[in-house]
Symmetry: C2
Subunit: 352 residues, 2 copies
């Protein structure tokens, strides 16, 4: 195949200058060009199948129409995929494309990765964490527009998009309460993440609203080792649930910090001869389909809105790059709701 065709070819074919072609194709305002000429240009452009060279354009306009997506763990969970997908589609809708890098939590690798992005003149960067936590932005970012995804920041000036953990926790517990449960256990990890705080707060809020007293003995924290791995979480959930279920007055329902811990609760229940949901209702968090639909009965849970978060993050980024100064008000943190996903693990408590 011959050389890619360029703006000059179009200009030649239409019998005009490249300037005119550019004006027509980009619909530049305030330029006077006859209808007739426009038509010729359009015709030539599309007969030739012209597409502008992004590099050249980017070089001239100082905007690469490209945004960097840096995350610490692309691989381990489908969460990442959802966020990336949301981001990618939102970007594509605006004609932008995503430059993806992964840092595996390695600071040095992160620095070089970010430099590779900056070298390619990304218009902005979405910095994503794979579970909701506090991060600090790497130096290397400099003054590049950045938004945080599924992560909070010490610096309030940098916009972030995170799930509304409180509302999510509330929604989960509310589902249990609506089915008649009053004695509701919680299983959590001991590590103190924003996610943990928020979900627990939602738990207490739902309880309070229903007029149920908060009973600290119903929240079982176990330490997870290894941290945040599938197997580790399942085991943690198992231990925590087992403790709750063998206690004096056992809860009729369990709110588990995440779906993997809920899987552990299933196992504890099975061992103790408790059937789900007949003897025990269980609700999880995350909506990891591979877990929820692999256990029986399928797990009711609360969804982390990863797709939307990804999409909102690029939306925020675009807003940021379009406006001149630093307009993001004081409230630069966007909370996205976590909807309930009801499956088969919640029903009314057993008659006493």
């Amino acid at each position: 195949m011959a050389r890619r065709i360029g703006i000059k070819d179009v200009a030649a074919a239409a019998g005009v200058s490249t300037a005119t072609v550019s004006h027509v194709l980009n619909r530049v305002e305030g330029k006077r060009i006859s209808e007739e000429t426009r038509r010729r240009v359009w015709k030539a452009a599309d007969e030739l199948g012209y597409a502008p060279n992004g590099l050249a354009r980017g070089l001239r306009t100082q905007r690469s129409q490209t945004i960097g997506f840096v995350s610490d763990q692309i691989a381990t969970t489908p969460h990442a995929g959802r966020m990336i997908l949301g981001a990618q589609e939102a970007a594509a809708a605006e004609g932008l494309v995503l430059l993806l890098v992964n840092t595996s939590g390695d600071a040095e690798l992160e620095r070089t990765s970010i430099e590779m992005l900056l070298q390619r003149q990304v218009d902005g960067i979405v910095y994503a964490a794979m579970y909701h936590r506090i991060v600090e932005l790497p130096e290397a970012l400099g003054s590049t527009p950045t938004v945080l995804l599924d992560a909070g920041s010490a610096d309030p000036a940098v916009p972030s998009v995170v799930p509304d953990e409180v509302q999510g926790g509330y929604a989960a517990v509310r589902e249990l309460i609506d089915h008649g449960h009053r004695r509701i256990g919680v299983t959590v990890q001991t590590v103190d993440l924003p996610a943990r705080q928020g979900r627990l707060e939602g738990y207490r809020k739902a309880l309070a609203e229903a007029g149920v007293a908060y009973d600290p003995s119903l929240v079982a924290a176990e330490t997870a080792v290894p941290f945040n791995t599938v197997g580790g979480d399942v085991d943690t959930g198992y231990r925590a649930a087992r403790r709750l279920l063998t206690a004096e007055r056992r809860p009729t329902a369990l709110f588990c910090f995440n779906d993997r811990m809920a899987a552990g609760a299933y196992r504890a229940a099975a061992e103790l001869g408790l059937s789900i949901p007949g003897d025990l209702s269980v609700i999880g968090f995350d909506n990891q389909e591979l877990v929820c639909e692999s256990v029986h009965p399928q797990l009711s849970t609360v969804q982390l809105p990863h797709y939307e978060m990804g999409a909102r993050a690029v939306a925020q980024l675009l807003a940021l790059t379009k406006t001149p100064g630093r307009p993001p008000g004081p409230d630069t943190k966007e909370l996205l709701p976590c909807p309930l996903v009801a499956r088969a693990s919640v029903t009314s408590p057993p008659r006493l």
Copy 2:
């Protein structure tokens, strides 16, 4: 912050021309430049923190140092994440970066996405499917170097990287045989994928090697609806397993087409009062950790080497872009081994 510093700034600081800076920094062969000058240039460059502008460089050299990764489903499985990660890291190691687009199986969207990539002058494209199947390359790709990932092609000229399904199936069944099983059931979907054929072939091969006659009544195919979704597969696996386990002489072990179907088998076993692995050994395929480690006992399985596949795909692509003509021999399909991942669901068959 001031304007990004460019090669001119370095040249000025070092008291040389930009040409010289370029020569030094790129270590161009055959250019005579004194040690002294080199030192000055390096010093200036790194004091100023110079990094070349990728767009300008790409424009001039006609290589963007960027490769496109197009896939049909980024989001649904962690498989995607692993492939992307492998690809990304292999790319980064060569100083390249990944441009990611998703097509959701939509042909129109795919076309425009690919055009966005070509506009940005990607040096090549990795075209990935999310489960091993035959695809045809979209027209839009034109003559861009392309390699297929987890997918085969009708056109033998295009390189592809896929898992060695036969060896994987063999490894799985071999594990069962090694534990003493002779009567081994298989659960599969009815849809005819390369994956299915290969794994079944591996099954028969392992059987033959052990001198066990192939018994067609031991392979249970059920149709999956909806196709290839988590819940759908689990249910399919449940039905297939149930059929096998309620037959006259039930198998002592099950080889399930994938981990989700294995999860269904767990349920069937539970219902029939069979304990795993005591009464029934089970082995899956895919090594989806969320599934394998969420069920109890944890599922032994065979791993799909997604990370390596991603990495090999970009390696192939690089090879392709570096060589002038079309050197990939007749055997342009690379098969990657699927290692066994032993967990807790396989043991010796019960004494009869």
